[in-house]
């Protein structure tokens, strides 16, 4: 990773999961090579050894067939052995998948919004970037992702992980980077004209460099703070109390909501995660909390996907483990329906939307470049 590469035969191994995936891959390559070579050898060997000899004529009939007891044993053997080997592959694959798909509980949260054809990334602390993702090394990072339009897929080959990014839904992806450097982000789900331009770079930095990078932030406040101003601007607080123990509102109190189980009017209950909050804002009638009426209007069209993530961050901050409510000073609020297109640009470098090969140098510490 430290020097320019024009040719590679194996991807960088830069996450905790990468080694596990590569080990399983190596196992499958060995098994496949063994069976491919076995078949190739047998076919060539038999074709030569038993080649047609005009002088001896056709084989004697009793040698053909394969219905005897010997044939049956062979059939059973070459059914059971591949079945056994493939069950090992199955179990091994499942165990890796379960690790890959379950973010550790205390992961650092980062939000990703895909749109044709760029990645918009928001850090909890307020930093925003496009087609770049700066992360600290050796930290569990959890991405919560959604799309503004079609299906995209956030893929980092060096981390051996990807996940579809769906419109109308949140998906997650997590990784723990183990090697400083710069790595490709690819959109792996075909998304239209500039699909192959929807690429970016992950910069894995030391914790100190990362904090320094965060400090050069936008000055717009943390995501939760920005979410709070959105909350105020949209007038959510007129009905939803956001102060501890205030139960006087016409609508459910939001303090401590995030992550809790909510009892619904129809008797069922649901965990208040990102998807639940998103759904409740856009389609409030779909899940009514027990004890409340169906009075909330929809905010569909009034809030962008980026804004929604900020709002969720704010509601999340109301339920923070220490129980304290963020005391962010309301800031001048950006228009929620159309988020500002220009974002926090690192070191003044223009976001390289769709540009290939032109990854700007990361701030602080000499960062190796992809090319």
């Amino acid at each position: 990773m430290m020097e320019a590469k024009s040719f590679q035969l194996f991807p960088d191994q830069a996450s905790t999961i990468a080694g596990h995936v590569d080990a399983l891959y190596a196992f499958l390559v060995l098994v496949s090579a063994f069976f491919s070579l076995l078949i190739a050898f047998l076919v060539v060997y038999l074709a030569v050894k038993y080649r047609h000899r005009p002088e001896t004529g056709p084989p004697v009939p009793h040698e053909s067939g394969g219905h005897g007891a010997g044939g049956m044993i062979l059939e059973i053997v070459w059914t059971i052995i591949p079945l056994g080997i493939s069950m090992i592959m199955f179990a091994w694959g499942v165990s890796i998948y379960f690790t890959e798909s379950r973010p550790p509980a205390d992961s650092m949260e980062i939000y990703v919004t895909g749109k044709q054809w760029m990645w918009k990334i928001q850090h909890m602390e307020g930093a925003r970037e496009i087609n770049e993702l700066h992360i600290p090394i050796n930290r569990d990072i959890k991405l919560t992702m959604t799309s503004e339009d079609v299906i995209h897929d956030f893929y980092v080959p060096a981390f051996r992980t990807k996940s579809d990014v769906l419109p109308g839904k949140y998906t997650t992806e997590w990784f723990k980077a183990t090697k400083l450097g710069a790595y490709h982000i690819f959109c792996a789900e075909y998304c239209g004209t500039k699909h192959s331009g929807m690429i970016g770079t992950v910069y894995v930095m030391t914790e100190a460099d990362y904090n320094k990078w965060l400090g050069e932030g936008s000055g717009e406040g943390s995501m939760a703070e920005q979410g709070q101003s959105l909350f105020n601007q949209l007038g959510c607080g007129n009905c939803h109390p956001s102060v501890v123990n205030n139960l006087n509102g016409r609508c459910p109190n939001l303090v401590g909501l995030f992550g809790s189980r909510v009892q619904l009017k129809d008797g069922s209950n649901v965990r208040a995660d990102e998807s639940y909050i998103r759904e409740s804002v856009l389609y409030p009638q779909s899940k009514i909390v027990a004890g409340y009426d169906d009075i909330m209007p929809t905010f569909k069209g009034l809030i962008s996907e980026d804004g929604m993530l900020k709002l969720i961050s704010y509601i999340r901050s109301l339920g923070a483990p220490n129980g304290t409510v963020t005391t962010a000073t309301p800031l001048p609020v950006e228009t929620s329906a159309s988020p500002r297109p220009s974002t926090h640009a690192v070191n003044g470098a223009a976001p390289p939307a769709g540009a290939r090969g032109g990854a700007p140098t990361a701030p602080a510490a000499p960062q190796p470049r992809i090319q």
């Binding site: 024009s6 194996f10 491919s36 078949i39 053909s64 592959m89 694959g93 079609v150 299906i151 192959s196």
Partner: protein, 541 residues
């Protein structure tokens, strides 16, 4: 068209029995309908091949410099749509199956000759829609038509293309129906189920998949057209739909469709291997039932396309384990074909070269499928060139190698003429070499992370892409040469005689080309299939 009968060929056959364009366009003879399909399917193979060539030309350099992104996206979409719906699905069943199933079971025709002709006209109607899309500007959704891109965002002719695939489906359903009824009702006296040639078993299983699976894609494409045309929400969340629902419905057909492409090919290989070993296939019943097992399990694995699409991990586990299980019957076939060669009398004629090529390439195609069935690995590999390499090993290395084997094997039966032996062997070797050079590097590209459907790519992927493009040019040449010697054989080829390969099937007991009614006297079957040794083995020349 083969309208001018060879001068020396005086015997009445299906080709010279009638003449004139209308005698072909209104024919009810399954053999003539097979020839009609041969022309149409070959046309689409050439068009699809030209698009493949454009893809490989563009990818020879990292920058998207030959065409713009929109054009590239249309090119790979048209390549996929044409090759899947207009070439791979109809190729072996509609050409070789149509020609051979009645002959192999000693029947005069398929059960419903008029419906058989109707299938061809429906195919041609779908083809007209496809050609209209081509000449009016194309479509850029990928052959998978994923929503909401296809339903709400694409600027191409999505409805027209979906309509082409939709119509094509009915052709497929009718062909499947015809085969099933024919195999049940039209077998010659004495031809019991376990005396059927394995080619017929494979087509029977294929026909079942066609009539059970194709209606689902028809409904899915219809819903897509409704959403795109009338904004009725099924798949686009903006209209209250679910985009992943489309993927479930699409793959419910499109994964079994893979078996529509590969099962007939496996049927061909069983015939070819047996004939050129002069030996009954090892484990006849295992090969026959493995076709049925593939058809059944093939319907239960579609979710392995959705491991990264937010599908539940537990659903994923079920799809994963079933995907491993569906690989077993294919492995059984490969082992049985290999065992057939033991103590055989192996003749390396051209069809056998293709069959051996099939065994090698399909083995790799099948084994790399295990990588994708394994959930932890699939997360890294899905939507990369690894997937492209895998399914081309199955589709081109498997299905097309089988089709080429079959075409070379039955060409003397279909036309009454032999093709050039030397050139056909050279072409077979070129196809094998060119294929591997084209697609093997793509496995490595995929593991390195190069995503599919990329118009431009980072420079570290270039060397392998150049190898792949070089291989494609050899592969293209390998497909061009047979086109020349097949056509030449119609005029200059040696007369084939009824049974040039010394094979046992009923189709070899009638003259070449067969008479319109197939058999002058309805054959009575008294032995099992592939009873070599019971008869004298004849050889060409």
């Amino acid at each position: 068209m083969i309208t001018a009968p060879p001068v020396v060929q005086t015997k009445r056959n299906y080709i010279n029995a009638e003449s004139g364009l209308m005698s072909w366009l209104l024919t009810k003879d399954h053999k003539r309908i097979a020839i009609l399909y041969l022309y149409a399917v070959t046309f689409f193979f050439i068009v699809g091949g030209i698009f493949a060539a454009l893809i490989r030309l563009e990818l020879a350099t990292p920058a998207g410099d030959l065409m713009d992104s929109n054009t590239y996206n249309k090119v790979f979409t048209m390549h996929g749509v044409i090759m899947v719906f207009f070439f791979l699905i109809p190729s072996i069943p509609a050409i070789l199956g149509n020609f051979l199933v009645p002959l192999m079971i000693g029947a005069k025709d398929l059960a419903f000759p008029r419906i058989n002709l109707l299938s061809w006209y429906i195919y041609m109607l779908a083809g007209v829609f496809g050609v209209i899309v081509l000449v009016t500007g194309g479509v850029d959704t990928g052959w998978t038509f994923y929503t909401p891109f296809s339903s709400s965002y694409s600027n191409g002719y999505v409805v027209m293309t979906a309509m082409a695939a939709f119509i094509m489906g009915f052709s497929s359903i009718l062909t499947g129906l015809n085969f099933i009824v024919t195999v049940h009702r039209m077998r010659a006296p004495g031809l019991t189920w376990f005396r059927l040639p394995l080619f017929v078993w494979a087509h029977y299983a294929t026909a079942a998949v066609m009539i059970l699976g194709t209606p689902v894609i028809a409904v899915t494409l219809f819903l897509l057209m409704l959403e795109r045309g009338l904004h009725i929400g099924f798949f686009d969340p903006a209209y209250g739909g679910d985009p992943v629902l489309f993927q479930h419905l699409f793959w419910f057909y499109s994964h079994p469709a893979v078996y529509i492409m590969i099962l007939p090919s496996m049927g061909v290989i069983s015939e070819v291997v047996s004939t050129f070993c002069s030996k009954k296939p090892f484990g006849y019943t295992f090969i026959a039932f493995s076709s049925v097992a593939i058809a059944v399990f093939g319907f239960l694995v579609w979710g392995h396309h959705l491991f990264v699409s937010s599908q539940s991990a537990y659903a994923g586990m079920v799809f994963s384990v079933l995907s491993f299980i569906v690989a077993i019957p294919s492995a059984i076939k490969i082992f049985n074909w290999t065992a057939t060669m033991y103590k055989a009398s192996v003749r390396l004629e051209t069809p056998m070269l293709y069959a051996i090529g099939f065994m090698g390439l399909f083995t790799i195609g099948g084994l790399t499928g295990l990588f994708l069935a394994s959930m932890g690995l699939d997360v890294h590999l899905t939507d990369t060139y690894f997937v492209i390499a895998h399914f081309h090993y199955v589709m081109v290395g498997g299905a097309i190698m089988g089709y080429m084997a079959g075409l070379h094997f039955w060409w003397p039966k279909i036309t009454g003429r032999m093709y050039n032996e030397v050139w056909s062997k050279i072409a077979a070797v070129l196809v094998f070499a060119g294929f591997n050079l084209t697609f093997f590097p793509q496995f490595i590209l995929g593991y390195m992370g190069m995503p599919r459907r990329y118009h431009a790519y980072p420079p570290e992927f270039q060397v392998l892409n150049v190898l792949s493009s070089a291989g494609a040019s050899i592969l293209g040449l390998g497909y061009l040469i047979p086109g020349i010697y097949f056509v030449a054989s119609l005029k200059y080829g040696k007369l084939a005689g009824a049974n040039p390969w010394g094979a046992t099937g009923l189709e070899w007991q009638t003259s070449s080309p067969p008479p319109p009614e197939n058999f002058e006297i309805t054959p009575v079957v008294t032995t099992e299939a592939y009873e070599y040794g019971a008869q004298e083995v004849l050889h060409v020349g």
